[in-house]
Structures are given as C-alpha cells and as structure tokens.
Amino acid sequence: MKRPKNKYQLLFILLFIACTGIQAQDSVKHELILNLNYYMPNDKIPYLKVNAKEKVERKFIPQKNISASVYIGEQSETNLLGKIKTNETGEGKVYIPSFVKAAWDSAAPLNFSVTTEANKIFESAKTEIAITRTKIEIDTVTEEETKKVSVKVMELNNGEWLPAKDVELKIAIKRSLGNLPIGDEETYTTDSTGIVIAEFKRDSLPGDEKGNLILIARTEDNESYGNIFGEKIVAWGKSTKIDNSFFNKRALWATGFRAPFWLLGLASCIIIGVWGTLVYLIIQLLKIKKLGRSSV
C-alpha cells in the first residue's frame, strides 16, 4: 500500500473508510418476525391472522405496511388464500375462501404458511403452522341444584372425529365488553374422552329478556388446534326488561330525557315574544300598504 503523503490524506482515508463502514452497516437488512394464528369462530368463516414485528432491544415493535402472502398447503398460485398488508398494529387478516374447499377437506392436518419478500429494510420471512381440524360441543348438565357445563373437544383424524385429550380450554359467559369465567378456574383441561365438566357459579347474572346467557368455550393459541370457539345459549340468567320509562322523564342535563316544563315555558315565551313582534311588524307593513292604496 502506498503511504499517504501527509496527515490530511490519512485523515481523509480514515473518514472515507468510516463512512463506507457506516453505510455498509446501514445496508444490513433487519430480521422480520412473522406470526400466523388460526381462528375458527363458532359457525362463522375461519380466518388467519398475520402478525409482523421486529425485535429491537428486547422489545417487539409492530411493523405496518408489510405485504405478505398467505397459503394453504404448498406455496403456489392455486393455494394462495390472499395477500395482506399489515396495519398500524402490525396485523393483517385473511378469511379462508370457499375455492380452497377441496384442499380444506382433504388435508389433515391443515398446513398454512405466510411469506414476505425482502424489501429495503427487511429480509424475506416465512412462517408455517400445522392445524388439526377440531370442533367444540357444549352441553349442560344439571345435578340437583348445581348447574354444570360439559365441553367436548373432537379432532379430525383420518376422516374420523375422535376425542381430543389434554386440551386446555377457557369456559366463560359472553358479556358486552369481555368474557366472564363461569367458575373460579382460569382454564380447564379435557380428559381422555375429550370432555371436561365445569361448574357454573354465576347465579343471578343478568341475561336478556328471557334470561338467556351465551356460554362460550375456546382454545387460545393452541399449537395444534389454533383458536377454536364454541357457543351455546342457556337460560341460566336473570331476565332483564328494557326500561323505557325514562323516555317520559324530564331533565335539563340528561340527553335521553325530555325538556323540563319550565324550560319549555321559558323558551316558548321568548320565541312567541320575538315572533309575535315580527307578526306585529308584518301587520304594520300591511297597514302601510292599505294606507297607500286608500290615499290614491
């Protein structure tokens, strides 16, 4: 290597190396972490949720505007379930379309994958999951005065529905803003017959007009089954009647109530006073007109 002529040349070379080093460091693409979750709501269309994030200093940062392709089985055009773009929370959703019915019926387990192509920031990424098709059946058992909920989980094995054992479930009552567990346990696990029985300890819970409550049983991010939901309506709640009587109440501040009489009276007086004056002025105008006609 030729020796630099003076210290300025040396400084320039060092700066150049430092800059190219920084640039090279910048050009290293980041790793994108992809998660794929399967959801099978009760009697609804199943869907897959994609989650894209990056790990930065022990924190996961959601990545928006990431384009991804979701497949069933092998990655091919015919097996493409859909393309998504992640939102601000790094999530995207694909409903399983009807045209993959053949693959859906034949495959056991169901293999899903999500892929992203490399872009300016991230390397390409891919994640796969294998889901065994499962169904949840909810039944009720009443022993003396104790109400119990029986949940049976079945998995599809070689075209046959067999009991799924050791499956962790949450059993709860569906409420407006969340789910209320039916008893003290956080989760329940199925036995060798695929059944779990849980005691219902939420007596006197307000239901609808007929006292109906919605029982739900679900798996949560289960590795083999994904997120499966089952629902059943039971008349175990307290019937509630919608109180419409307040429509006839009167109050100044409550937006659902009618105006108080004093306000109606006061406002009517002002409106009648002002419009009465206007009517008087219009009569005066007609009087001017009459005077003009009579003076001809």
Binding site: N87, L252, W253, T255, R258, A259, L263, L264, A267, I271, V274, W275, T277, L278, L281, I282, Q284, L285, K287, I288, K289, L291, G292, R293, S295, V296
Partner: protein, 438 residues
C-alpha cells in the same frame, strides 16, 4: 357627507338608480352562475350517491360544509352592526353602507341555512328537526335563531327601501316588464304620507333593537354547537365572545370589499367617500384588535397548561399538519390588516380593499381550522380506523358545493344591485337637504 351640499335630488336619483350590467358585469354574473351550476351538479351527485362522495368519515363528520356554515353565519352579523348598532347610535355617516351590509347579511344567512341542509346528506330529514327536535339541543336553538334572523334581516332590508320604490317607478317606461311589475307589487303603495312614515320609522326602530340580541344569539349559539362538547379546541368558556368578535370583523371586512367594488364599478365616489373608508378602517382595526385579544385567550391559555388532550391539537396547529394554514389565518386575517389599517394612509380605498380581502379570506380559513383539526383529535385513540379517516381533505364535490354556495351568495348580491339601489336614495336626498340647510 362631503360633496353632498352640491348634489341635487335629480343627480342623486340619477346616480343611485340601478344600472344595467356592462360587459364586465355580465362576465362576472356568468362566472358566478357557472360556479353555482358546478356546485349544483356536485350536490346532485351527493344526493344520488350519498355522503360517500365526500371525504368526511367516522372522525371528521363536520368538514368544509360546516366551516362554510360558520363563515356565512359570521359574515351575516354585519347587518346588525351597521344597520342596527350604527343606526341606534345615531352614526349618520353609515347611511350609504346600510343596504350593502343588509344584503350581505341576507344572502349569507340564506346560504348558511342551505349549507346545513347540504351537510345533512338526507335533506328530507330536515322536517324531523321540527317534528322531534329536543329543546335542550343547541342545534334546535340554531334553527330557531337563524330563521328569526333571516326574517328580521329581510324586513330590515325591505322597510327602509320602501321610499326608494317611488324613484325606481319614476322611469318605469324604460324598465323591462318584469321589473316594472315587481316594483309595482312591492312598493307602489308607498305614498310618503305622514302616517306611513310614522309606522315605517317605528317598525325600523323596533327591528333595529330586536336584531341586536338575535344577532348576538345567532353566533353565540353557533359557537355553542362546538363549546357544549368536551373536545380539545372547542371546550372553552371563551367561545361565544370569540365567535361574535370574529364575526363582526369578517362582516366589516366584507362590507369594506363591497364598498370598494360598488364605488369603483358604479362610480359612487361622491357617495362612498374616502371619509367612509377612513371610518370603516378604524372600525375594522378596533374589531381586529378585539378578535386578536380573544385569539390570544383561546390559544395561549390552553397552550400554557398543555393538558394532554389539548397538546396534540395545539401542536398540530402551531407546528404540525395545520401550521401553515393557522399562521396564514392569524397573519393574513388579523395582524397584517391591523398593520395596514392602523395608519391613515392604509385607510385609503385601495389599501382598505386589500386589507378587507385579507380579513375575509383569513376568516374563511380560520373557520376551517376551528372545525376540522379538533375532529381529528378524539379523546379515545383511533382504534382500527382506516388510514384515510386519520386525515381530511375535501373531495371535489365538497369543494364544488362550498364554492358554489359562496358564488351563490355573491350572485344574490350582484342581482340585488342590478334591481335595487345599493345606496338608499331617499335617505341620501334627505341628508343632502339637511346639510344644505346647515
């Protein structure tokens, strides 16, 4: 009024009677009609396809239409300032300006009512406001007060004009048939008898007194549409006074612009003199200072506290997405007009016209800034909202309807000037006689 001591009744009548449009007048009217037609076509599209043609959404549900509504309500307030407050205060120099102010008020309040119907999306549902309206709601107050103000303004425009019909009918042979019939229907009964004058004078005084509280109500109630909510930027006890002061300013600015245009187009230099500009200039400066004072209260006090919900809103206005528009409205709508008009040389017709235009344009953007940015900062985070809901820029239909309504208001004023004298003839002759006697 300077120069009036040498003006004869014949000359005043000749000068002030409505004149036919020249070439420029026809082009101007044609442009206004064209803009109105484009607006009407956009409204047809909105009726056919619904409010989906606008860019309003879950968050910005009040966009350019409501900004325009607030602007119209504001500018209409000038009718009460010049016609009523000046009249009750015996400010005689304002005589040539009263009709200008009143027609601005009538056309603006008319289009304020129309633009509200446009904003509803389903115009046939307007009837529900009357059938099922709740008296506790500021929207009902607004409906009541706007309709009242419109009727008072119409009467205040019509009653002082009755003596002028005599002059308009003097040369009826030269008039087109429809104008002759119109003048005869609306004013041929005015004979100027003592009894007629007495009733008319009394009615005008009653209207002048009545319009002041109604005018204050109209804009205070409009401000309460916003201030009765808890939202950042609107949750303010200052809002009524802030709106009323801003309304007087934009109205006065509008009158200044109209004064200059009518003076120039109809050669009214002897009637709208430099003295009128000087005095209106002083009024505008006073009103601009007043509005600036309320602006300082409105923005500086919340900025000093920077409560969390206000922070995002104020930051967006001062240095964020709306900063350019905000500082434009402050500088062009208030500061620069004050700097122009505070000096006697700035109160000459041309600088006054420029300052008036600045006040009006600045005021329009100010109304946009009052309505839209707040809606983009709800208390709860925008969860699962589409990206397009997080920003707002009006669609071409919204622009067309808004511009069409502005053109419509200008068209009413333009057509009014074609049909009626824009400066009261009878009052000007009377004042000329009184000056001559002195």
């Amino acid at each position: 009024m300077e120069n009036q001591n040498i003006l004869t009744a014949e000359k005043i009548t000749r000068d002030l009677l409505p004149q036919q449009f020249g070439r420029r007048g026809k082009i101007w009217t044609g442009i206004l009609i064209l803009v109105c037609l484009i607006g009407a076509f956009a409204y047809y599209r909105q009726l056919r396809y619904g409010l989906a043609v606008t860019n309003m959404g879950d968050y910005v549900s009040w966009g350019i239409y409501i900004s325009n509504f607030v602007f119209f309500v504001a500018i209409s307030l000038v009718g009460s300032l010049i016609t009523a407050i000046f009249r009750l205060g015996n400010v005689t120099w304002s005589t040539p300006l009263t009709r200008i102010a009143e027609i601005i008020a009538v056309s603006a309040i008319l289009f304020a009512s129309l633009i509200i119907i446009v904003d509803m999306g389903r115009p046939e549902r307007l009837v529900n406001l009357f059938a099922h309206g709740r008296l506790q709601s500021p929207i009902i107050w607004d409906v009541v007060v706007i309709s009242t103000y419109l009727i008072i303004s119409l009467l205040l425009l019509y009653l002082p004009m009755l003596p002028d019909y005599k002059f308009m009918l003097e040369n009826k042979e030269k008039l087109p048939k429809w104008m002759r019939k119109g003048y005869a229907f609306f004013g041929s009964f005015w004979k100027g008898t003592t009894e007629q004058k007495k009733i008319s004078k009394k009615a005008i005084i009653i209207l002048s007194i009545m319009i002041v509280p109604v005018a204050f109500c109209i804009h205070t109630v409009t401000s309460w549409l916003f201030a009765t909510t808890y939202r950042p930027g609107w949750d303010s006890t200052n809002f009524g006074a802030y709106f009323v002061s801003g309304a007087f300013l934009v109205g006065a600015g509008g009158v200044v612009v109209a004064m200059y245009v009518f003076r120039k187009v109809y050669t009214l230099q002897q009637y709208i003199t430099e003295k009128h500009f000087d005095r209106m200039g002083k009024a505008v400066v006073l009103l601009a200072f007043l509005y600036l004072y309320f602006n300082v209260n409105e923005y500086l006090v919340p900025a000093f506290k920077m409560k969390k919900p206000e922070e995002a809103h104020l930051t967006n206005l001062f240095v964020g997405e709306f900063a350019l528009m905000f500082w434009f409205a402050v500088l062009v709508g208030m500061i620069i007009p004050i700097l122009i008009l505070i000096f006697p040389k700035g109160r000459k017709p041309l600088p006054m016209f420029i300052a008036g235009c600045m006040v009006v344009v600045g005021a329009w953007f100010k109304r946009y800034l009052i309505v839209t940015p707040t809606l983009l900062h709800p208390f709860l985070p925008m969860h699962d909202a589409q990206e397009k809901f997080k920003h707002y820029f009006p669609s071409w239909e919204e622009w067309a309807i808004a511009m069409g309504s502005l053109a419509g208001a200008l068209l009413i004023i333009t057509l009014f000037v074609r049909i009626f004298p824009i400066i009261p003839i009878h009052e000007t002759i009377e004042e000329a006689h009184e000056t001559a006697k002195k």
